[in-house]
Amino acid sequence: MPSRIFVTGLGFISGMGSNVQENLTSLLNLRSAIGPIRHIETNLKDELAVSEVLMTNEELMKYAGLQNTEVYTRNTLLGIVAANEAFSHACLNNHPGIRIGLISGTTVGGMDECEKYYQDFLTNDSKNSFISTYDCADSTEKIADNLGLKGFMTTISTACSSAANSIMFASRLMKAGKLDCAIAGGTESLTKFHLNGFNALKILDKQPCRPFDATRNGINLGEGAAYLVMETEETNKKTGNTVICELVGYGNACEAFHQTASSPDGTGAYLAMKKALDMSGETPDTVDYINAHGTGTDNNDLSEGRAIEKLFTGKVPYVSSTKPFTGHMTSAAGSAEAIISILGLQNGIIWPNMNFSNPMPELQFRPAGEMIRSVNMKVVMSNSFGFGGNDSSLIFKKHGIH
């Protein structure tokens, strides 16, 4: 029997704040986390605008209450902080009978330490303790260890849609009866590796990003982690956790167009949103808000904008990209923006698409320019698209509405 999937816990760390409440406060105060590079040692230090988590690795360790017995990459530390918050939010420790899984998305994995010590790994005979923390699963395994989880876990890497795909797979595992509850999301730290990679692709903006603006000029990269606790309706009867909202739809499609670029007509974006909508039982006119992928690149915003216009013919709901707040959190973007969408749903707020002033001539609709409060919201959609054309869309619905 297809079970309903409820969201009962949230955990979120980004440049805007170290927990959900701090992130919400920043959003409400229109406080962007985009700024100059502080922590990461790179030649691009004075050139790029990014969104960095304020805490250093040492501070993150302290914040997460970790001992020095293990080595942790920044990716892992961010993941532990957000997963801990989500887990404690849903009070899962008191329910030993339920099968809890961890599904985490990441792409750069432990590259932050690897790029510092690669030569050391290859040549230095005194073992560097970061030598086995490079792969993507290292953060997932350590997040699970830290939470005392011994059941199912896996890691997904579909570039910038990794965390959205983690949420989808978690839901499918529960619907298939493999799990009762899941912690799903993603984590990504900034690295010299992908800062330089995106820079070589010439898609980074030196100024704060301007998604859906005619003058948009690229991405600001960001870092952080975000996790959702999800449980089946049956499990929720046992845990008694407060239901934040319901995950009612999701879709995944592949652009099959180009390794990094989106198709001009947004085939993948359209298919992902369409699948999600069909699954949710909602119609284009019942969706109240779309948190767009909206990276601020020429290519993405045109492609996604056209796909939105095609699916929501004639009546495009409120649309905004919140990347001017958080930066592009790459593998963590899907779950971070799912949480931002859910916070909007909970509080009746349409988040503004900051830095927007010039409409794109190719599009009929305009993104939400300013914050709109007291909106009666029921259904929100969150889009995440990645390299390889791995496109995903999630739909959340307010609980108790039929």
Partner: protein
């Protein structure tokens, strides 16, 4: 929508250190070497990929695309409903290339090609791109559970009744850099070993390997069906109170079978004395079954269970274990039920059950 009970393996494609690209042959000629690392016998990629695309492709992408093409052709499926891959470390060659240039050039004069190809989902994305396949596309990257996660997702997709074919694969490549680093971690034998004496010459470390194996899974059987994929389980033994035999009987119980019904156990033993114990426990708990192994043929890597499942599927179709893979003979016992057991560094354990279709 009706629930699907049986999932069929209708096609195989395997690029490995053995001659495995032609499905009409099954290890009748085996590559036996004296080494601590095995490299793939790569096919002529021009048979599968046009030269202009081939020129830019990283090595793992080529291996992945070629093995997926062999698999699709073998199955007769032109357009799968989903493409799901597992890779422990992804496109290492491109990652190392970008990283090394970044370090050497001090972040100057970088070109994006190797960065573009460095993401773990490049193989599944390139397969989709060449097929123009807009369907579901996922990549799992969890060490010794990467391929298993892909397989589990495939099973869930097929059982939900909306998907009838999935192209599923596991792939990893070995580079000089990754061999060097994992050597430092003590993963490999210090001296070359006769690959056929890997299991008898007990000492620390295994032999490094690589490969890419694809499977076409379907809800309907075909003339070429190899086996029925019955069940899959990934499990962790950290602080586990359950013994391996009890985890096994719980797993088999889900399919309504007893350990005595296992005709053959295909095991991931790799010659490393420090991780041999679980394999011993397993083989002791299926006393009447034959035992086969694959890592002396493929080498050890995070997705080597894909080679294991390829071998198990071929054994099911041929009805016998190739001589090179036999660890314990099962005599004349017909092979109807095969259990695949693997673990990676005693951290990521998995069972896969296949039966005669």
């Amino acid at each position: 929508m009706t629930a699907v009970n049986v999932i069929y393996i209708n096609g195989l494609g395997n690029v490995s250190p053995q001659k495995t690209t032609d499905n009409n042959h099954f290890l009748d000629e085996v590559n036996r070497t004296q080494s601590n690392r095995l490299a793939c016998i790569e096919p002529n990629y021009r048979d599968f990929i046009s030269p202009d695309i081939l020129r830019r492709m990283g090595r793992l992408i080529k291996m992945g695309v070629a093995s997926s093409r062999i698999c699709l052709a073998d199955s007769g499926c032109g357009m799968p409903d989903a493409i799901i891959t597992g890779t422990g470390l992804g496109c290492l060659e491109d990652t190392e290339k970008f990283l090394t240039t970044l370090i050497r050039n001090k972040e100057e004069l970088l070109t994006p090609t190797s960065f573009i190809q460095s993401t773990h989902n490049t193989v599944s994305a390139q397969i989709a791109l060449l097929l123009r396949c807009h369907n579901y596309n996922y990549t799992y990257v969890h060490r010794g559970w990467s391929f298993e996660s892909a397989l589990l997702d495939s099973v869930i997709q097929l059982r939900n009744g909306r998907t009838s074919t999935v192209l599923t694969g596991g792939m990893d490549e070995l580079t000089n850099g990754s061999f060097e680093i994992t050597s430092r971690l003590g993963h490999w034998r210090r001296k070359p070993v006769d690959t056929f004496e890997l299991f008898t010459s007990t000492s620390r470390g295994s032999i490094a390997g690589e490969g890419s194996a694809f499977f076409l899974l379907s809800t309907t059987a075909s003339h070429g069906t190899y086996a029925a994929l019955t069940d899959i389980l990934t499990f962790n033994r950290k602080d586990s109170v359950k013994s391996l035999p009890s985890i096994l009987s719980g797993f088999l119980n889900r399919s309504g079978i007893m350990p005595e019904e296992i005709d053959l156990a295909v095991c991931g033993m790799n010659g490393d004395s420090t991780s041999a114990k679980p394999y011993k426990e397993l083989t002791d708990s299926v006393k009447n079954a034959g035992i086969a192994a694959w890592k002396h043929l493929s080498g050890e890597y995070m997705t080597s269970s894909a080679f294991g499942l390829w071998m198990a599927s071929m054994i099911m179709k041929h009805g016998q274990v190739p001589e090179a893979a036999v660890v314990r003979n099962c005599g004349d016992r017909p092979i109807n039920t095969i259990l695949l057991y693997n673990h990676y560094l005693d951290l990521n354990h998995s069972f896969i059950l296949i039966r005669k279709p």
